[in-house]
Amino acid sequence: MTDYKISAKGVQVYYGDNHAIKDVNVDIEDKTVTAFIGPSGCGKSTFLRTLNRMNDTIDICRVEGDILIDGEDIYDPAVDPVQLRAKVGMVFQKPNPFPKSIYDNVAYGPKIHGLARNKAELDEIVEKSLRKAAIWDEAKDRLNAPGTGLSGGQQQRLCIARAIATAPEVLLMDEPCSALDPIATAQVEELIDELRQSFSVVIVTHSMQQAARVSQKTAFFHLGNLVEYGETDKIFTNPEDSRTESYISGRIG
């Protein structure tokens, strides 16, 4: 059991009366990329947010079931969600840089978690993160310029840099490439592949090609249900469920 990085058992999520996630069981392996696909509104983001307890901030949201990370129940009362989120980083669907400088955006996480002992180390973390997120070349001359002054795609890469700067063990990415051009997308995909060496990455995407390119495992959600979960190759070439097949071939969604 504990071979899995994340394992979700019987997860139900309700927004008030709206049953958004219905009895989802999924085991996510370490050092793999897992893609969540499915039509809009099927609950991909919702499920992703249960994995680092970002749903706690939504008053009407209620989560049932067990989610274990490294064998520990993250909804246990003894778990501090703040510590959890340092370990499970997140890139949001909409880019949300802080209204601060590019440098401060990236440096904020390492600063509050005490990851750098001095300015030089902090500078190094910032540069490394920006390079990994494929935005260093565009940002290096304007590190003190506001992060919100970047273009939408640049902002998203800045948010990726900010997320990896805190050195999380799991990175949750909610459609990280939806605002990116093909070149930046390729760079981010390269980054995801690189992150896989040490972390597990969960990525929500609407691009079938991207899911096929970057992920080893794929989960297909439909109307709050996890319809099918397995090897990416198998899902895309030989899906078991007819709904999966119709979605992949563009007939539903």
């Binding site: 703040v82 989120r85 370990k87 949300n96 996480g109 978690h113 700067a165 805190t166």
Partner: protein
């Protein structure tokens, strides 16, 4: 499938010719703009009329009319005067002697007597005596005295007293006006800026000339200190808790509704509350700026809480998500990211609340901070908070209620000073907002 060809317009119309619908829309827009301009013009007109009236009625309060006279008192004269029974009368005689010599020197010829001098300048003997008793070194030296004219004489210069309508009385005779005119032509009687009004204390009901707003301005200042240092931290802390941390349930809803209601409670109710709680129950001193500050804090808190919550609410939730998502605690997310963004709004709300408190009169009257209490300056910080004092609006109210018309211009002058304070506070608010507002 719909037939695409059927959606094509029947006739092609030029974009350069506005159709009926567009014309109507444009006309409506023009009308709306006209309404707006009219509304602003009316507002501006009222503002102009108000400013003109205030300045016209209030500016005379800043001018003072004095008789300037050089007096040299010898040691012999001093000793002789001090050994007499009616000491001030002796000094008055000395003054008149000097006055006469002075007028002769300038070639002014006008009949006057000691009574006339007293009607014009008050009891000069007493003024001179107290000066020399305090400055014994000046005996034998020439000293220039600036003696303030009585309020009736000031009234003559400011148009309140008229030669045609003057009725002889023990305060002023028609013949005195000849003396006044002669003195002014000779340059003995001059006007100058009335610093005593800006820095002075309140005077007796029969002496409008000596009334100043300085002491009550100090009272207002100490009160504002209390309000600022209580309502800002309490208000901001309460808002942050309610907005960011408190669970959304019946209890917090109730608190919220009550805060909104408190903001609409008439200020005099807070005055009664302050009287019964702070003075009758807690036995704090009456008329103390500390108590006034506490009452005004109660009044200002709802304003600050409402505006602070509104500005916290206007910070986009994605910023909070971003901070929480990289493992910041709730408090870090609030203090590092939300609060700086909400700061301009919080400051604006606070200063509006303070400005309201600065202009508040009714609750202060209830706790005894009426104008005539402001008779002396506090002699230290503790005394500034604890000793009886008034506040500017209460002082103005007291002056406006007094019978002597001389106080009328004092009230208007006080309003000018109050408005200057308010303008300064608003300027500070704009400055701080610009400073904290980061446009990115």
């Amino acid at each position: 499938m719909t037939d695409l060809s059927s959606t094509e317009p029947a006739t092609h119309r030029s974009l350069k010719v506005a159709d009926a619908r567009t014309k109507k829309r444009n006309a409506a827009e023009k009308r709306f703009r006209a309404y707006g301009i009219v509304a602003i013009a009316i507002g501006g007109l009222f503002l102009l009329a108000l400013t003109y009236n205030i300045l016209k009625a209030g500016l005379p309060a800043f001018t003072q009319y004095v008789v300037e006279l050089e007096v040299t008192l010898t040691q012999d004269e001093f000793d002789a005067a001090e050994s007499q029974m009616l000491k001030t009368a002796a000094y008055t005689d000395i003054f008149i002697g000097n006055f006469e010599a002075n007028l002769e020197e300038r070639g002014v010829e006008v009949p006057y007597d000691g009574d006339a001098i007293e009607r014009l300048l008050g009891k000069v003997g007493g003024d001179i005596r107290s000066y020399y008793r305090e400055n014994l070194d000046d005996i034998g030296q020439p000293v220039t005295f600036q003696l303030q004219t009585s309020s009736r004489v000031e009234g003559y210069f400011k148009g309140r007293v008229n030669r045609d309508t003057i009725v002889d009385s023990r305060f002023l005779m028609g013949s005195d006006l000849d003396i006044v005119d002669a003195l002014r032509d000779a340059g003995v009687l001059t006007s100058r800026f009335n610093w005593a009004f800006v820095t002075g204390t309140d005077s007796g009901v029969d002496n409008p000339g000596g009334a100043g707003i300085g002491a009550s301005a100090i009272g207002s200042f100490f009160m504002m200190l209390v309000v600022l240092f209580l309502s800002l931290p309490i208000g901001v802390a309460a808002s942050i808790y309610l907005e960011e941390f408190a669970p959304k349930n019946r209890l917090t809803d109730l608190v919220e509704v009550n805060i909104s209601n408190l903001a609409a409670v008439p200020s005099i109710v807070f005055g009664i509350l302050g009287l019964s709680v702070f003075i009758q129950f807690a036995h704090l001193p009456q008329s103390a700026p500390l108590v006034g500050g506490l009452v005004l804090t109660l009044m200002t808190l709802p304003t600050i809480i409402i505006s602070t919550r509104a500005s916290l609410k206007s910070v986009p939730p994605s910023i909070r998500d971003a901070a929480l998502g990289i493992g910041a605690s709730k408090m870090q997310s609030v203090f590092h990211h939300v609060l700086p963004l909400a700061m301009p709004g919080i400051l604006t709300g606070t200063i509006i609340g303070l400005a309201q408190a600065l202009g508040e009169t009714a609750p202060l009257l209830l706790i005894g901070m009426v104008g005539f209490v402001a008779r002396e300056y506090p002699d230290g910080v503790v005394s500034g908070f604890m000793d009886p004092n008034s506040a500017m609006p209460a002082q103005i109210y007291t002056w406006a209620a007094r019978a002597d018309v001389g106080f009328y211009e004092k009230a208007w002058g006080g309003i000018i000073i109050l408005l200057i304070f308010l303008l300064l506070m608003n300027a500070l608010a704009i400055f701080l907002r610009k400073k904290f507002e980061r446009r990115w």
